[in-house]
Each structure stands twice: as structure tokens, then as C-alpha cells.
Amino acid sequence: MEPLDQIKSRLEAAVPGVRLAIIPNDTPANQPSLLVDAEHALMAAKFLRHDAQLRLDYASNVTGVDWLDATLKEKVKVKKVVDGVEKEVEETVEKKKPGYLEAVYHLYSMALKAGPVILRQRTGNRIDQVHLPSLTPVWRSCEFQEREIFDLYGIVFDGHPDLRRILMWDGFKDHPMRKDYVEPDDYEYEPTPHDDVLEKAKQRRSADLKT
């Protein structure tokens, strides 16, 4: 299996206009992933499947990730006038990083016994721009897994043959795997609470629950 930057350059040559990025992974797993933009994702997927050197014909896992709006604090050296003298002072600057939802595809090649190549797609934001192209026309195994991502994260896959909830019931309104999901309060009976369940139990029975 060729290295990821080689795949990236061949993909850029094959699909004109595609915007790719390599997301590094510094963990012991060492699995960097290829970020593809939503407009050209389907063409990129078709190239990955049909290219003779890659032949990635099996999407073994499709999952979602929820990135919340984050603020990064950076220390920046800024020239400021302090007590009449110009000095370089360290200031913390806050940079706002807007949140988004992501779909991550793990692709293997059964024909060449190689892999994995990890593909990512990001949505615009978490609120209203949550549409992504479905890669089910390319890899059939994405069908149920994209339904699961739709159910649990709320990403709407355009072009999916049968997009409906798979784990929760159809009338359910929330997306449970999002980081800001609030679960319903049915913790009436908690004989041995600990960690965050302890907080919930304390709110219910603040009079007689000891720490």
C-alpha cells in the first residue's frame, strides 16, 4: 500500500478541483487520514475504488465524530507600550474554532489485501449545514453505517437509498452521540451512584444523599 501523500497527489491529479488534506495521527496507531471536501467526495471515492493500484473495495467501518465549538488559547508575543517603553509582551490570544461533524471511512482492499486508508468528510457546521454526500453508491457496506451516523450524529447523507433512523425510533428527536446530548431524566432509583450519575442522584435527593 503506497504512502498517504502519494495517494493524495494521485487523487489530486485524477479528480480536478478536489481539496484534500492529510490529518496526522501522532498516536501509536499511526493512522493519518485523508480529508476530502464534500463536493468531490463521490468522485474521489470512485477513484479510490476503481484505481488499479489501490482497489479499495471494502469499507469496513464508517463512523461519526462530533467536534464542538472550541476556543484555542495561544500565547503570542506582541509589541506593546508599557510604562513608556516599547516591549515585547506575551499575550494570550483566543482563537475560536467553529465546530463541525465528521464522517470517517476505513477502507480496505480485499483484492490486493491491503489497507487501511482512512477517509474523512466534514460538514459545514453542527447546526444547519449538516449535509454530506453518501458513499453508499460506491461501497454498499456504508448503507447501514451511514444510517447509524444519521441517527446518532445528525449528518444527512444526500444520495443514500434509505436514510432513516436505525437504532432509535423514527419519532425520536435528538442525536444521542452528540457531545451536547442531554439524556432524559429517568434516574429515579440509583442505589450505587458514582461519577456523573452521582451528580444526578444528588440533585434529586439532595436532602439525604451524602457525598
Binding site: 437504532l167 432509535m168 425510533w169 435528538d174 444521542p176 439524556e183 432524559p184 432509583y189 439525604d208
Partner: protein, 204 residues
């Protein structure tokens, strides 16, 4: 009946019993369970019916596929909120007298998956449970013990009087309301007539 007289008569070859004893003996020795395995506890339930821990010698010869022919529902496994209305519907379809055994931690209270978004915290929120079996999963011997406890309960049920079981009491209902799918949770989250959260008093 006087025990001394009974033993004297039985020595002479005369066997005496009560209608109640005979009725309950027939009922408890032929409890037919409904095939209702949901998750891992179902494997232990299957193991209990197989050769080593044979449940058939207690009368549970056939696990009925249809609720109309069963009198015991062994809820074996995690009850998800999506499955809960179907569990209650199947229970409603069983004819009286019917019993429920909640097998395993998940059926009792949600078990190890209690904080899950789709896990019902115990089937006793919607159904009256007769025997709870703790364990994850409970051993086949524990299921046999629960079955024997159920048999003892059936034995002690009177035919007349205020403590008589539901199937002999015309006023008692045998069907329970099926929970509906709400927008965030099941509606209602529990059946207040059957289940009230038990009072906890902490040791000081």
C-alpha cells in the same frame, strides 16, 4: 388437614389432597415459557434448557413460539426503549395465568448499560415481575432456582379470598398499557401503578 391423619391414611393406601393443592400442582409442574431471549442472558437460558442443566425436568418442556400458548415470559437480556412496547404487547397477548421472570441485571434495572440512551432501566417499570434473578449473566443453576421459586409461589396461591391470583379475580386487569414512542423518551417513562422508585435510606 391434620398431618397425622393424612400419614395414617396414606399408609393404608388412601391419598388425600385439596382441590387447591391439586390445581396448583398441575399448574406449577407444566409452566410453559415463551421463547423470549433478547441478549446474552438468552444464551444462558438456552444452556439451561439443554442437556446439562435440563429445564424440561421442571415442566418447561417446550418453549412456545407464540405468546398465546405460553404462561411464563423469561425476559432474558437488555430491554431497549425501542423494544419495550413490543415486550409489553407480547405480555398483553399472553393468556392468564401468566408470570414474568426478569433474568439478569439488565432486565432488573438496566444492568451495566444503565446509562445508555436506549436502555430501559428495568422491565419492571412496565410489567409486574414475579422473580428477579441477579447476575450478568446468571448461571443456569440460578435460573433453575428462580424457576423453583416461581413454582413455590404458584403453590402458595389460594383459590378464593382476597389474596387470590389475577386470573381468578374478575376485577383485576391482565393487560397493561403499552408505552408510546415520545420525542425524547418513552411516554410514560414508567407505569406508576406497577413501579414506584423504592425508597433509599442511606446509612449514616
Amino acid at each position: 388437614m391434620d398431618e397425622g391423619l393424612r400419614s395414617e391414611l396414606s399408609k393404608q393406601g388412601v391419598f388425600t389432597t385439596t382441590i387447591e393443592g391439586l390445581y396448583n400442582w398441575g399448574r406449577r409442574n407444566s409452566v410453559w415459557p415463551l421463547q423470549f431471549g433478547l441478549a446474552c442472558c438468552a444464551i444462558e437460558m438456552i444452556a439451561t434448557t439443554m442437556a446439562r442443566y435440563d429445564l424440561a425436568r421442571f415442566g418447561a418442556e417446550v418453549f412456545r413460539p407464540s405468546p398465546r400458548q405460553a404462561d411464563l415470559m423469561i425476559v432474558a437480556g437488555t430491554v431497549t426503549k425501542k423494544m419495550a412496547p413490543q415486550v409489553v404487547r407480547l405480555y398483553n397477548q399472553m393468556p392468564e395465568p401468566k408470570y414474568v421472570i426478569a433474568m439478569g441485571a439488565c432486565a432488573i434495572s438496566g444492568g451495566p448499560f444503565k446509562q445508555g440512551y436506549n436502555v430501559l432501566k428495568g422491565i419492571d417499570r412496565y410489567l409486574p415481575v414475579d422473580v428477579h434473578i441477579p447476575g450478568c449473566p446468571p448461571r443456569p443453576e440460578a435460573l433453575i432456582h428462580a424457576f423453583m421459586t416461581l413454582q413455590r409461589t404458584i403453590d402458595s396461591q389460594r383459590l378464593t379470598g382476597p389474596g387470590r391470583p389475577r386470573h381468578l379475580d374478575a376485577a383485576a386487569g391482565s393487560e397493561f398499557p403499552v408505552p408510546q414512542f415520545g420525542e425524547h423518551d418513552l411516554v410514560p417513562p414508567s407505569n406508576p401503578e406497577i413501579w414506584q422508585p423504592p425508597q433509599l435510606t442511606r446509612a449514616k
